[in-house]
Symmetry: C2
């Protein structure tokens, strides 16, 4: 897939760990040096920093190098970059739907993307050859590639990822300290992603605020319906709502 994978980061210790597990072939703390001979650059920083990093990369990389990212929101990032990326620079937004609540090279997994969906978010101005080249990267890592507009991506991910994270954080916060010794697999799984980096997720929520609020309100309406059925002792309604929810999940996940 690549002759050489060069890791660029801010902390020597993180880069050394990435070299140790074989995630990169060599590494540097200097961005300009690191991208000087690159064909393809993947910006994997927290979402709030992606735009600035792509601009820095575009200024330092060889003309014709392709730049992509792995950020969980796309409208804000792609919109900013469409407005003022250096002439000749090539950027295609990516979001591989994989990862976990853990971070760092110690949790690296060569099969992380196998069988997972990678979303590409080209704009009408993105050349089809750039999209195809970005698709080959993710396909080479085993992912199934699909294309969405940045807006459709953010609307969909608000429902499938961003609101589930908010819900997991709220649920984790709501369980009294003394009750955790009685946590079973249900609480463990529903709150797993509340172990995610709060700073990273604050940025994701903030850069997709409107869509997250919209999907959150849809979720709150479902929860309120269950709350009301329970409070009103309306067992028939409660039963309907639970069955519909189970069917919705089975239809989606199988």
């Amino acid at each position: 897939l690549a002759g050489e994978v060069l890791g660029i980061g801010r902390r020597a210790a993180s880069l050394a760990a990435a070299e140790r597990v074989g995630a990169v072939s060599r590494s540097t703390l200097n961005l300009a040096e690191g991208v000087a001979e690159a064909d393809l650059i993947i910006v994997c920083t927290p979402v709030a920093e992606i735009v600035d990093h792509v601009r820095s990369v575009a200024a330092a990389a060889p003309r014709g190098a392709l730049i992509t990212d792995a950020g969980s929101t796309k409208g804000w990032i792609v919109g900013q970059l469409a407005a003022d990326l250096a002439p000749g620079a090539r950027f295609v937004g990516s979001h591989p739907l994989a990862g976990s609540e853990r971070s760092g090279a110690a949790h690296a997994d060569a099969d992380l993307f196998a069988g997972r969906v990678a979303v590409l978010t080209p704009t009408p101005a993105t050349p089809q050859t750039d999209v195809a080249e970005t698709a080959r990267l993710w396909q080479g890592l085993g992912a199934v590639v699909c294309e969405l507009s940045p807006e459709a991506h953010d609307r969909t991910l608000a429902a499938t990822s961003h609101v589930p994270h908010l819900v997991a954080y709220a649920l984790a916060a709501s369980v009294p300290e003394a009750d955790w010794p009685f946590a079973g697999g249900g609480l463990r799984d529903t709150t797993r992603i509340a172990g995610s980096d709060p700073d990273l997720w604050r940025q994701i929520f903030a850069t997709n605020r409107e869509e997250v609020l919209c999907a959150l309100e849809r979720y709150e309406r479902e929860l309120a319906a269950l709350h009301e059925a329970l409070q009103q002792r309306d067992d028939a309604r409660l039963s309907d709502l639970l069955q519909q929810a189970k069917r919705r999940r089975e239809g989606g996940i199988g």
Copy 2:
């Protein structure tokens, strides 16, 4: 642990499946026959039926046989049985904190209880020897036994299990059909328990209504705080809430 395990059920096919996987040594559709020579009877039906089944078992089992259950709510069950169980009958409420969204002998697992918590809910009137004998059952299956009053059990489980199930059902219902192909591990895990039997869970919610509503309102306040911080673009507050939630989970699960 037992000379013989006799399975009693309503469907011959389910019992045949249980025999096939070795979960029971033999089986019968007749409750009175099945318990006629039993030393220990475990009632594992949905919660709404447990009280009636324990009464039937107490009437048919040998004098001195110990009866327990595996229901997810305890106050209602233990209260009903304390009022009018046949004289000489011995009952101790149990709730092993294990299982999954799947049901049936096809999903049986001999190590299901290994390292898990089994809660016993004796009343002040329960003889200590009955508690000890029930504890030996769950310990023999590898569980760690602890005792709670039926009321404390229901208050705790409302937070650690019942509300997480409501949340998972609401979340599954809130994701539009068209968005499910973009479900990642986060949505999959947060909604896993929405695959649970709706009829079983309606009964659990209904027999622990007050505590579930109380824990649900606590959860809704946490969610409302996140909603408000997001809506008001209060990033400092949002960051605090996310960090508190992550710490709460780490303190509980490690």
